[in-house]
Symmetry: C3
Subunit: 350 residues, 3 copies
C-alpha cells in the first residue's frame, strides 16, 4: 500500500503543507521513522523530532507553530493523535481484510454461517455450530459441535473451541488459545489412583472480549466458566473451571486462576499472578505482578502485592526490610552481646 500526502490529507480532512506528492508506505513513531514513513506529532515534548525526523509525512495539530525548518510534508488536523489512530485502525482493517470460504475447509451441513464471513483453509466448523455475521475463522481454527459465535468474531489461526461454548459479539481470540477444554477434576481413590470427574459445563465469553495467544480457559464441571463483557486477557493465561471474570477486568500474561474463583469488575491483575480456588476478588482490585492471592479480597479498589498478597504499601515495606535482613540479624547479635555485658555489670553492681 502506498499513499501520497494529498490522499491522506483528503482522508483526514486536513491541510497539506509542503509536497503533496510525498509518498508513504508505512506508519512509524516520529523518533524512529525512516523514509516513506507517515508519522504524527501530538505531545509538544517531542517537537524537537519534527526537525530531524526522516518521515516523509507528519500529521500535526492545527495550532502548532513551527520554530525551525522542516523537511517532511505536514498535514494539519484538529487532533493529530486521534487522526493517526484512525489511520492505524484503517491500516489494520485492510491488513486483516479476509473474506470468503477457502478450500479445503470443513463446514458441517448442519452448521449455520452468517453473512460476509471468512472461513480459512483447514478450518473446521462442526455440527450445529452457529456463526454470526462478519466473522473471521482463520485457517486451522476449530469449532466443535454446537458452538455459537456472535457477530464480528475473529478466531485467529489454530484457535480451538470445544463443544457447547458460547462466544458473544466483537470477540477477538488469538492463535493457540483453547476454549472449553476439560476442567482439572479428579476424585482420589483408596489405592492412590484418580477417577476423572466428567466436565459437562461450558465456557461463555461475552461481548467485546479479547483473549491472547495460547491462553487456556477450561469448561465448567457443571454450569459455565464465564468471561464477562469487555474483559481483556493477555497470552498464556490459565483460567480454570467455573471461574468467573467480571466485566472490563484486564489480566496480564501467564497469570493463573484456580477453579471456581470469581474476580470482580474493573480489576487489573499483573502478570504471573496466581489465585487459589474458591475465592472472590473485589471489584477494582489491582494486583501486582507475581503476587499470590491466597484468600478472598473483600475491600474494593485496593492495591495488593506479595505471595501471599497483602496491601501493596505494607508489602513494599516488608520487601525493603527483607533486603536488609542480614544487617538486621547482625544488629540483633550485637544487641545480645551488649546486653550480656550490661547484665554482667548489673549483676556485679548488685
Amino acid at each position: 500500500m502506498q499513499f501520497t500526502a494529498e490522499e491522506i490529507g483528503f482522508m483526514l480532512n486536513g491541510t497539506v503543507e509542503g509536497d503533496p506528492g510525498a509518498t508513504v508506505s508505512k506508519l512509524a513513531k516520529i523518533e524512529e521513522a525512516s523514509e516513506n514513513s507517515l508519522s504524527f506529532l501530538s505531545n509538544p515534548k517531542y517537537e524537537q523530532y519534527l526537525y530531524t525526523t526522516a518521515a516523509s509525512v507528519v500529521i500535526v495539530n492545527n495550532d502548532l507553530t513551527i520554530s525551525a525548518p522542516v523537511k517532511a510534508t505536514l498535514i494539519r488536523v484538529e487532533n493529530a493523535y486521534s487522526a493517526f489512530s484512525v489511520l492505524l485502525e484503517k491500516y489494520n482493517t485492510i491488513k486483516l481484510n479476509k473474506a470468503g470460504i477457502e478450500q479445503p475447509s470443513f463446514i458441517h451441513p448442519t452448521a449455520q454461517i452468517g453473512e460476509n464471513c471468512y472461513v480459512g483453509a483447514f478450518a473446521y466448523i462442526g455440527p450445529d455450530v452457529k456463526v454470526g455475521n462478519n466473522c473471521k475463522i482463520y485457517p486451522n481454527a476449530y469449532c466443535a459441535d454446537n458452538v455459537t459465535l456472535g457477530d464480528n468474531v475473529t478466531l485467529f489461526p489454530g484457535v480451538i473451541v470445544y463443544f457447547d461454548c458460547v462466544i458473544g459479539n466483537n470477540v477477538i481470540i488469538h492463535s493457540g488459545a483453547i476454549i472449553g477444554s476439560d476442567g482439572f477434576g479428579f476424585a482420589p481413590n483408596a489405592n492412590g489412583t484418580y477417577t476423572k470427574v466428567s466436565q459437562i459445563g461450558n465456557v461463555i465469553i461475552e461481548d467485546d472480549v479479547e483473549i491472547g495467544s495460547n491462553t487456556t480457559i477450561d469448561r465448567a464441571t457443571m454450569g459455565s466458566t464465564i468471561i464477562r463483557k469487555g474483559v481483556k486477557l493477555d497470552n498464556l493465561i490459565q483460567v480454570a473451571h467455573n471461574v468467573e471474570i467480571g466485566a472490563n477486568t484486564v489480566i496480564a500474561a501467564q497469570t493463573g486462576i484456580s477453579g471456581s474463583t470469581k474476580i470482580g469488575e474493573n480489576a487489573v491483575i499483573g502478570g504471573q499472578v496466581g489465585l487459589v480456588g474458591h475465592i472472590t476478588v473485589a471489584r477494582g482490585s489491582q494486583v501486582q505482578a507475581k503476587s499470590g492471592i491466597s484468600r478472598s479480597i473483600t475491600e474494593e479498589n485496593k492495591k495488593w502485592a506479595g505471595a501471599p498478597a497483602t496491601h501493596y504499601n505494607d508489602n513494599m515495606r516488608s520487601q525493603i526490610v527483607y533486603m536488609r535482613l542480614p544487617e538486621l540479624e547482625k544488629k540483633i547479635s550485637e544487641l545480645e552481646k551488649v546486653i550480656a555485658e550490661l547484665r554482667k555489670v548489673s549483676d556485679n553492681s548488685m
Copy 2:
C-alpha cells in the same frame, strides 16, 4: 437430547415420585438449576434447596424424608451422588461420540489404524504410526513418524506428537499440548554463541494419563522423558527433557519441571511451582502453589512451601513474620536506643 423422568428412572433403576412426564435437557447443581434441569441431592446440608430449586427432576437418596412441599419430580435411588455421576459420564460419552474417518485427512499408507477409531478432518497420521482400537484423533491433530498410540486414546484438536513417541492406553491429551518437541540443550562456544545438542530420545506416556491444554513435554536428549501410569497434568505445564513423573502424581497448571528431575509416585504439586533440574522429589510429596524446589526432597509424604521451599509449617511461620518485618525493624531500633541509654547510665555508674 431430552429425557423424561420416567426414562431416567428406568436407566437408574429408581422410583419416580411426581410427574413421570417431566422433561429435562441439561444437568445442573441443585442450587443453580433452571427449568428443564436434572439435578441431585446427596449432602443433607443442601436439603433446603430441594424446596426452592427450579430443577424439573431431582435424584435423591431412597432414605430421604421430605419436610416441605417439593415442585420437582423426584427419582429415588440407593445413592444419589453415584447415580448422578453415572449420568454425567453417559452424557459426556454421547457428547464425544465421534467415529469414522473424515475427509480431507492425511493417513500415510504405512500407518496402522485400529478398529472403531475417529480421525477428524485435517488430522495427520505419519509414516509407520500405530494407532490402537477406539482412539479419537480430532481435527488438526498431528502424529509424526513412528508414533505409537495404545487403545482408547483421545488426542483433542491441535495436539502435536513428535516422532518416535509412545502413548499408552486410555490416555487423554487436550488441545494444543505438544509431546516430544526438542529438549532445551545447547553447548556454549568460546565466542558466546551456542551449538544445538541433538535431541534424539523420545517421550513415553503410560496408561491412564491425562494431559491439559497447551502443556509441553520435551523429548529426552537420549533415552526417554517418562510420564508414568495415572499421572494427571493440568494446563500450560512445562516438562523438560529426561524428566520422569511417578505414577498417580498430580500437577496443577503452569508448573515447570527442569531437565532430568525425577518426581516420585503419588505426589501432589500445586500451580506455578518451579523445580530445578537434576533433582529427585520423594513419593507423596505435597508442594504448595508458587513454591520453588531448589534441591532434592528425600523425606516422603511431607508438605513443602516457599521459594526456596522448606517444610510447610516452617515456611508459614516465616511468612507471618515477614509481614511484620517493618514492625520488627522498629523494635530493634528502639532496643538500640534504650540500650545506648542504659550503657550511658552503666558507664556513668562505674
Copy 3:
C-alpha cells in the same frame, strides 16, 4: 534404521574390535543402553560401565586401555565424544528428512517457495509469503500474508506466524509457538471499558534463533519486536510487544518479558522469571529462576536473584535469614524482656 559395527566404523573412520557384524538400531548412554544400542565412552569415570553395558557397539578413544573382558564390539576413534555427536546429528537429520509438497496444502499463487523445501499437508502459506531454500514447513503450520522466511528454516507442526513477520536463516520454531499476535494494548475509557490500540508493527527473528513449543512473541505496536541472532528461547515464554532480546541470550521456560523491555547480549535468564516493561537489562546478566526484575539493570555480567531482584549473593543472604525469621522474632522478644528488667534495675539503682 539398522547399521553394523563395520558400517559405523567406516563412517567414523575408526577401527573395529570384536564382531564387525554386530548390529545397532538406536543410540543410548552407556549406563542405560540395551541390546542393539550404540553407545560411547569418553569420560574415564564411566569406564566401569564398559564391562557391564548391554550395548552391542561402543565407540571409545584410541588410547583407552581395557582392564577387563568386554562383551560389546568396540570402535576406536580419535575422540569418542565428538564422533558420537556426529552420529547424533546424522541420526537427527535422517529422522527429520522431509521433502516435497504434501497434499492437501494451501500455497497462495503469489507466494514464493525456494528450492528443496518441505510443505506438509494442511500447511498454509498465504499471499506474498517468501520462503527461502531448504525450509521445512510442517503440517498445520501457518504463514500469513507477506511473511518472509530465510534459508534452512523449520516451522514444526502448528506454528503460527502472523502477517508481515520476518524470520532469518537457520531458525527453528517448535510446535504451537505463536509469532506476531497482537500486543496487549488497550486505552482506558472514562466508563471503565477499554479501546483496543491497533498493533501494526511486526516481529523480526534474526538468524540461528531457536524458539520452544507454545512460546508467544507479540508484534510491536509500531516498529518491531526483535529477537537477535543466536537467541535460544525455551517453551511457554511470553515476549510482549516491542521487546528486544540481544544476540546469543538464552531464556528458560515460562519466563515473561513485558512490553518495550530490552535485554542485552549473552544474558542467561532462568525459568519463570518476570521482567516489567520499559526497562533495559545489561549484557551478560544472569538471572536466577523465578526472579522478578522490576527495574533496569545497568551493571554488566552480574548475577541477580529474588523478586524484586537484587545481587545474587545479597539475596541468598536474605533468603537464609528469612528461614530463621521466627527464631529472630523470638530473640527480639527475649531481648525486650531482658532490657525491661535491666531498666527496672537501672531505674532502681538511680
